[in-house]
């Protein structure tokens, strides 16, 4: 295989596979947060910032994958 083609393939695979886990994780975070707000609407102000922080942490692996892909493509 051509090295350039392998690079594009690798970048695509890195992001595609790396986004699966965080996608599921962030979905769970959001669903639980919405459930909590649905049960107790007054807690929305407290739950929402914590939800964003938890999502950001769940997102890390996707960001790692993204950075790897970007380095492969443009580095």
């Amino acid at each position: 295989m051509d090295i350039e083609a392998a690079k594009y393939l690798a970048a695509g695979l890195a992001v595609g596979l790396g986004a699966i886990g965080p996608g599921i994780g962030e979905g769970i975070v959001a669903s639980k947060a919405l459930e909590a707000i649905g049960r107790n609407p007054e807690s929305a102000g407290k739950v929402t910032p914590l939800m964003f922080v938890a999502m950001a942490i769940a997102e890390s692996t996707a960001i790692y994958a993204l950075v790897i892909a970007l380095i492969i493509l443009f580095g």
Partner: protein
């Protein structure tokens, strides 16, 4: 494809041996802007606030209450609040400044290629790394100040039993991983937003990039917030270390 995307910021000119990049200039402009805005606001404080002072007061008060809700009331909040809020506001303004219309059209012709004068500050990894190092080092200093240097070292290196030894090593790795994850989160999001915007503009110049820009706007606010809150959480975890180790 004449898409011009590079990981490193573009060097505009050299000052002595010091390469002046476009993100460097942008960060100086934003710092100056913030200094002037907040400086002029605090210089003319009135008992009955005008519109501008009212806005700033609401901003400061709201964020202070949020920090207080995480750090707990008292001196700790007063000490950590300036750092965290500065980080948040600098990152926020730096991220939002990308959306000033027309700024990416200002270019410099240098050595046969055009170099954009403005670029998102947080898409320069050096800038983000420095901010991350400030937050992580602060957290370490706070931890050492609360439990003392030897006890803090004992958290990582213990010979009580093999399991604790390995857990200590894992803690050590997680401290290093904090630097990587915190910095790459902000950098990766902003840089990916830039790349996405550029690619979309390249594919379809009109209307299609708008929703993606809106998504980028959301990321710009959320990531600045997340960076500051994670810094806050690291510091608050470090300041509550004693209670955990005593268990």
């Amino acid at each position: 494809m004449d898409l011009n995307i590079s990981l490193a910021p573009d060097v505009l000119f050299f000052l002595g041996g010091f390469p002046v990049t476009n993100t460097f200039i942008w960060s100086l402009v934003i710092s100056l802007f913030l200094i002037i805005v907040f400086g002029s606001a605090t210089r003319s404080l009135k008992l009955i606030p005008g519109k501008f002072q009212n806005f700033l007061e609401a901003l400061i008060e709201g964020s202070y209450e949020f920090v207080e809700s995480i750090m707990g009331p008292g001196k700790k909040t007063q000490r950590v609040y300036p750092l965290v809020f500065t980080m948040f506001f600098f990152a926020l303004v730096a991220n939002l400044a990308v959306y000033i219309p027309g700024q990416s059209a200002v270019t410099l012709y240098r050595g046969g290629e055009t170099v954009s004068i403005f670029r998102a500050v947080m898409s320069d990894y050096g800038m983000v790394l420095v901010m991350t190092l400030i937050s992580v080092i602060t957290a370490q200093v706070v931890a050492i100040a609360t439990v003392g240097p030897w006890k803090y070292l004992g958290k990582f290196i213990t010979f009580k039993n093999p399991l604790k030894f390995f857990l200590g090593l894992m803690e050590l790795i997680s401290e290093v991983a904090k630097i990587v994850s915190l910095s790459f989160r902000l950098f990766g999001n902003i840089f990916a937003g830039e790349v996405l915007g550029a690619v979309m503009l390249f594919l379809a110049p009109f209307f299609i990039p708008l929703p993606f820009m809106f998504l980028g706007l959301l990321t710009a606010v959320v990531q600045a917030f997340v960076f500051a809150v994670l810094t806050l959480v690291f510091i608050s975890m470090a300041s509550e270390l004693e209670e955990v180790t005593n268990e």
